[in-house]
Symmetry: C2
């Protein structure tokens, strides 16, 4: 069994590679919920939806989020009514938001709703939220505090990053499916996907039970760097690293993941490739994932690397 | 000033005729809320929306409800997720439901939301809900009690009608805009639109303040019969009348409207035309409204009739 922690587009892509590389039912993808928010009364879980759409093969490759062939009649009508237009809600996407909101209101957990949605999309691996309890990322910026979507969508990541907190993380419990994966005797490896270490993986690490489970792991944990040539394919990770005075690259992950991972898999031309930094080994591979073939290739690289360590422990 | 009470498609059509026949700002259309319900957590007001779409000239003439050029991507996705498919929510229509729900949650009244929506649609007459308090029609049928939409949409009006109650009517207040219209010294006439007397107008009459305002009116009140040749253009009014042992036709309105209206305007070939039944005069006109021209023609007939009585009082 393989456990992957994921958030964002890069995370979803490697999760998809792993989903194809691992036998059905043998992969658990735990997904960031720090980006989740309530908008127009609707429970919106962008990272969970991105993972579902990507693993279902119906993600929208043009805009990088949402579902393929999406339409926008709802947004047109909402804008005509003077409703908030800064966060786009696609007609198809809305069905998930509305049904999820209703089911949560009726007492279902986010885990249950997510599992049911994944099944409806024909996904044969386990997709679980990192927690069924709300954990909400709040960014400290030069424009003051901004909730995640305010920073990410409304302000297009333009404000300068100063810090982050995860409201609710102190009391949040690990989702049952994630706890089961950590405890599964057949667990062979943990993979931290090439997601933003602060915005996408930070919320996981802020939950004490998840942090503790990574610390006390008995299987290899491989993190995959999201940086390629000092940038990322999507998202503000490189910008944030620069704002923190760090050089964007795999080495900048070392402090975030120290003690939690055994090896960082970085891109071939990353300066850290083949080196040890802060006690962490950096192994190089081609980490660009433009299509399913490249997603599967990287997944196999990660799994082979994990098994090679696993056999040594 | 003219006040119209309306519900359903026929009500919206005459309301539209009146909206064109009366100077801007001089018509108040009070709309039935007995059909309103909460579905998937969304506050849905079918009759208000039908009046808005009809007066905005963008009602869907094919299906008889909803907005012209509607699309159904949301419903397709909802059905794929195993969500409830019995009540159709169009992509454009959803914007009203979602925004209305959010604004009501934030403390706005249904009157405020309705006025804002009407303004966004460029409507220059007043559209008000009959009440800002919930009034919910519950039908007694041979299949037991059914909420309005269960009867009307899910069961397609097939169960046999036995009776109706209006939950919340006892404590519901008249909406401020309706109270203002009744009290307006320039009010010249009240029109009860050709709506279902039980399902669409019944909720109005169940609110004591509205019933009382009709009883104590100082201006003519004209009801327009929804029956044409013993049937209605839309809706189950004729079926319900038959199930009550009545002959569908304008005369069957007499008991519902006795004491509340001065004259019933009925279709030219209605058996009651030109007669007095239960102390009510039945005046004939062509009541079929297939287009705006016919809506305006009937509106003028109603207004002329009202003014002819008004001058007599």
């Amino acid at each position: 069994m393989i456990l992957a922690l994921a958030g964002g587009v890069g995370g979803a892509r490697l999760a998809n590679g792993l989903a194809h590389a691992v036998a059905p039912g043998r992969l658990t993808v735990a997904v960031n919920v720090g980006d989740d928010f309530t908008h127009l009364g609707l429970a919106i879980c962008p990272d969970i939806d991105t993972v579902i759409y990507t693993l279902a093969g119906c993600n929208n490759r043009d805009v990088g989020w949402g579902v393929d062939g999406e339409t926008w009649a709802f947004m047109d009508a909402l804008n005509a009514l003077g409703g908030p237009g800064w966060f786009n809600l696609g007609d198809r996407d809305l069905a998930k938001h509305v049904l999820r909101t209703e089911r949560l209101r009726q007492g279902a957990t986010l885990s249950q709703v997510t599992a049911d949605f994944a099944e409806c999309y024909g996904i044969r691996q386990h997709i679980v939220p990192m927690s069924d309890d709300p954990v909400r990322s709040v960014l400290e910026t030069d424009e003051g505090e901004l909730s995640f979507q305010d920073y990410f969508v409304r302000r297009r990541c333009e404000p300068r990053y100063r810090g982050i907190r995860f409201d609710g993380a102190d009391s949040a419990r690990m989702a049952p499916g994630l706890a089961e994966a950590f405890a599964d005797p057949s667990l062979e490896a943990i993979v931290i996907c090439p997601s933003n270490p602060i915005l996408s993986i930070g919320p996981f690490l802020a939950v004490e039970a998840i942090h503790g489970a990574l610390i006390s792991r008995r299987v290899p944990c491989i993190a995959v760097s999201p940086f390629i040539a000092g940038e990322t394919v999507k998202g503000p990770a490189a910008k944030i690293m620069r704002e923190l005075g760090l050089v964007p690259g795999a080495a900048s992950l070392a402090s975030a993941y120290a003690g939690l991972v055994d090896i960082i898999l970085c891109d071939l031309d990353d300066p850290a490739a083949g080196r040890r930094v802060h006690g962490l080994s950096f192994v190089a591979s081609d980490t660009l994932m433009r299509d399913l073939l490249e997603q599967e290739r990287l997944a196999h690289d990660v799994l082979n690397l994990a098994l090679s360590i696993g056999s040594r422990t």
